[in-house]
């Protein structure tokens, strides 16, 4: 017995009798006898109190935002998550339900996704948002596939070297079997203007991130113009929190815009599950991958929500589908919808301001420390690059002893920067926390 299985011994006897079998083992006659019922070598089961103790032992062996000050971002961000977000996510009506293929009994999920799509469009200034992809990196890979489907006959994608290194790696992994060339990031020092100059008559899309991986904000309009002049699409990857203050992909004229949606009410969770935000212009909606929710009416003329434009999807189109994606990040999209609803117009602006001003305060303080240099790379949002007097690994090791998780070590991905770390400051890092970081760095310098 387990506490999850409600079939009693008596039930089993009656049920086997109805089936016409004597023993439960008889139901498995189709399995080769010599490979039937393997003995599994697994740890003995634990009761809930024992398991809680074991879980607690494991979780205590990890640092986390409650035990350490986090000044690390690089694609996963320690942003504030209002308590109400998780309370909504914990509703069984949401988390124990399935994909809303039966709309009459799924209006809750469908309305939530419709509102997610609407809120993302409002935030980004884009026309269409889908019901989400796995994460920011896979959303970008889907953008590459969509671009070559939209711009027929072109198979080259030009990416900026300041696009997150892991996103570029994910794109290369996912697209290795198909004839799509990813280029533009061979020189890690290349400027965006230099990258845009690589866009030519065989290019399907230019992909640029702003704020970029190193934290710098860019005016994407000239890049969009360059891409369009060559007949290519502009794909912008953005930080949804930055949009509380800064230029939207819609304003930048992007054709496709993607983001890692984790900052919108989805916790750090050691890297997942996260949220792949995917948006595009109206004219490309039939080429979009993933689920879409639309509005219609029922037989009594009541407003209702339903999955729509389904002919693009794998369960109908099979090998001719726009993607093999089946799921979306439903629960994470719900988190983002609740988050955006709670923060709203004022809150989104406030969070962006807190990140911006605190990050600039931190940069100014660190710039005064002997041995440290804050690189001037133009306007930045919440992340910035600091050249360090000693290798980053060494500095981070001593920061750890002070309960601080330091910045991302850039020496691997961007060797031309030398000993440099990418620091991140959000609304979760108070002035006192920042002063503590500066003090700790000073000792190291």
């Amino acid at each position: 017995m387990t506490h999850y299985i409600p079939i009693t011994d008596d039930d089993r006897v009656v049920m086997l009798n109805t089936i016409g079998s004597e023993r439960i083992e008889d139901l498995f006659d189709a399995i080769p006898p010599d490979r039937r019922f393997p003995a599994l070598d697994l740890p003995a089961p634990l009761s809930e109190p024992e398991l809680r103790r074991e879980l607690s032992r494991l979780e205590r062996a990890n640092a986390h935002a409650g035990s350490h000050q986090i000044f690390l971002g690089a694609g996963a961000y320690n942003h504030f998550v209002p308590a109400a977000v998780d309370q909504i996510l914990r509703r069984g009506e949401f988390y124990t339900t399935y994909t809303p293929y039966q709309p009459e009994v799924s209006q809750g999920t469908l309305q939530a996704i419709f509102e997610y799509q609407s809120l993302v469009c409002a935030l980004t200034g884009m026309d269409v948002a889908n019901a989400s992809h796995y994460d920011g990196g896979t959303a970008l890979a889907e953008a590459a596939i969509m671009a070559v489907n939209v711009v027929r006959g072109r198979r080259k994608i030009v990416v900026a070297p300041t696009l997150h290194p892991q996103y570029r790696a994910v794109m290369r992994t996912l697209l290795q079997g198909v004839d799509i060339e990813i280029t533009g990031d061979e020189n890690p020092e290349a400027s965006l203007a230099e990258v845009a100059a690589l866009v030519d008559g065989s290019t399907a899309a230019l992909m640029v991130q702003s704020p970029d991986f190193l934290g710098t904000l860019h005016d994407l309009r000239p890049l969009t113009a360059a891409a369009h002049a060559a007949g290519a699409l502009m794909v912008a990857h953005f930080d949804p929190i930055a949009l509380g203050l800064f230029q939207t992909p819609g304003e930048a004229g992007a054709d496709i815009a993607t983001a890692e949606g984790q900052p919108l009410g989805v916790g750090l969770s050691f890297g997942g599950p996260y949220l792949g935000i995917f948006t595009c212009r109206q004219q490309y909606v039939h080429k979009i991958a993933g689920r879409l929710v639309g509005v219609t009416r029922d037989v009594e003329n009541r407003l209702a929500y339903v999955l729509t434009l389904r002919a693009r999807e794998q369960d109908i189109r099979r090998e001719r589908a726009t993607s093999n994606i089946c799921t979306n990040q439903g629960l994470m999209a719900l988190a983002a919808a609740v988050y955006l609803s709670l923060l709203g117009r004022q809150g989104m602006r406030r969070v962006a301001e807190l990140c911006y001003h605190r990050a600039h305060y931190a940069a100014a303080q660190i710039a005064r420390l002997p041995g440290y240099l804050v690189l001037d790379q133009g306007p930045f949002f919440k992340e910035f690059v600091v050249r360090t007097p000693r290798p980053v690994a060494e500095i981070n090791a001593t920061l750890r002893e002070r309960g601080i998780i330091g910045g991302y070590d850039l020496s691997g991905d961007y060797p031309h920067l030398g000993d440099a770390m990418l620091l991140c400051v959000t609304e979760m890092n108070s002035r006192g926390d920042i002063d503590g970081l500066v003090e700790a760095l000073k000792v190291e310098g």
Binding site: I31, A84, V105, F270, A311, C326, G344, H357
Partner: protein, 496 residues
Amino acid sequence: MMHNYEPPIFELSAPGKFGANLPQLDVPASALPDHLLRGDDLASLPELTEPEVVRHYTRISQRNFSIDTVFFPLGSCTMKANARLHEEAARLAGFAAAHPLQGDELSQGALQLMYELQEYLGEISGFDAVSLQPAAGAQGELTGILVFRAYHLDRGDHERTEVLVPDSAHGTNPATAAMAGYKVVEVKSDARGNVDLADLQRKLTPRTAAFMLTNPNTLGLFEEHVVEVARLVHEAGGLVYGDGANFNALLGIARPGELGFDFMHYNLHKTFTTPHGGGGPGSGAVGCTATLAPYLPGPRVRRMEGAGGFEFFTPEKSIGRMKTFHGNFGMLVRAWTYIRSIGAAGLRKVSETAVLNANYIQARLKHVYPVAVDRTCMHETVLQGKLAAAPEVRTLDIAKRLIDYGFHPPTVYFPLIVPEALMIEPTETESKRTLDAFCDALLAIAEEAARDIETLHQAPTTTPVRRLDEVRAARQPILKYDAEVFAKLRAEGVQG
């Protein structure tokens, strides 16, 4: 379910409200770069307080069926009950608030959990190596096909351009093969619901890179010639991919690695009861033979030599990373907790009971609803909505009428090779009382269909909305809230 209409959140907004209690600015303000600011001051985002937001989402939640409220016999979806402890576990601060790049030293608990889960999944399925990275089943499939591709190319075998897929396969299989650059070749099923061996042999050629097989297949049947199928594919130089969507039938019953599969994905959100979440997140860990292990996506976790402890590593010939960071970690915590709470005997009990329940439903219904292939089924049974007493009835009508009886419909019209398919997967977490009530409802519906088919055509009548105009939704897509569009709908008489 709640029947009252709930307006879009944008219509509950009023200027000046906010719903989050944020810190005050405690540092001097810095100059903003004017030329980079957004121009609309976020004017189209809504403005609400916390109580309004909570009520709104709570109200719409009540317009859903869920496992917590009703039986979800969705074939190939494994809608088993979601354990409450798992939700607590994944939210422990050391898991939920850990940064993915904080480094191995600060992440030993998470790494140990991942290492152990790799070991458990390998043991359960008979595979030598496991990667937890793929985000969902479809990504697990793509991982497998890309690993196969890398393996063939690494051996200098460049001629393999085709992937074979049974005609009963999930749509993700052919879509995946196409996404990996392969031509899809379909293999027929035989009268007993197995892969047609003669057709398979005809289609196996030096161009065959792989055969993708779901076992039990989507007819709910164990592939009787699975060992022979694998032998034939291997003889042709191909590899066998296992779609693990139906693995809930095999825990402690058989190990795919011992049946001839080279690679498979696990749907942790099915078999290992991480919640479906209304469509995701999934989690599609993969397992494979030692031969293929060097090509797996990284990072994986291993024990450190000497001192003890755990570390991330990337296999030497890895195809690369499938997604950002290390996989859907929160789902891994839930799956680990599940395996530790029921152990080996519990897992076998899960599959035995899932199979018992499906066969019980099949036995109770097959004299009224024809069974696609009359054999002992595994964890699901495929019936047909073809009633002798009401030949004009359609499966869709039966499915919609089930809703009025308080049940989520089964998977319908799948697999594609079965006309009017009703694919029923009860899982092990339902009581006999529920299974009987479900069978009674389907039998009652068959009688209704013979007596007054209009009752079925009208169904459902007990839901917040009734049947929808899906054609209109696709012809005139409205994919986001727009006050003018909604006003126009209302002017046309749409209520809401």
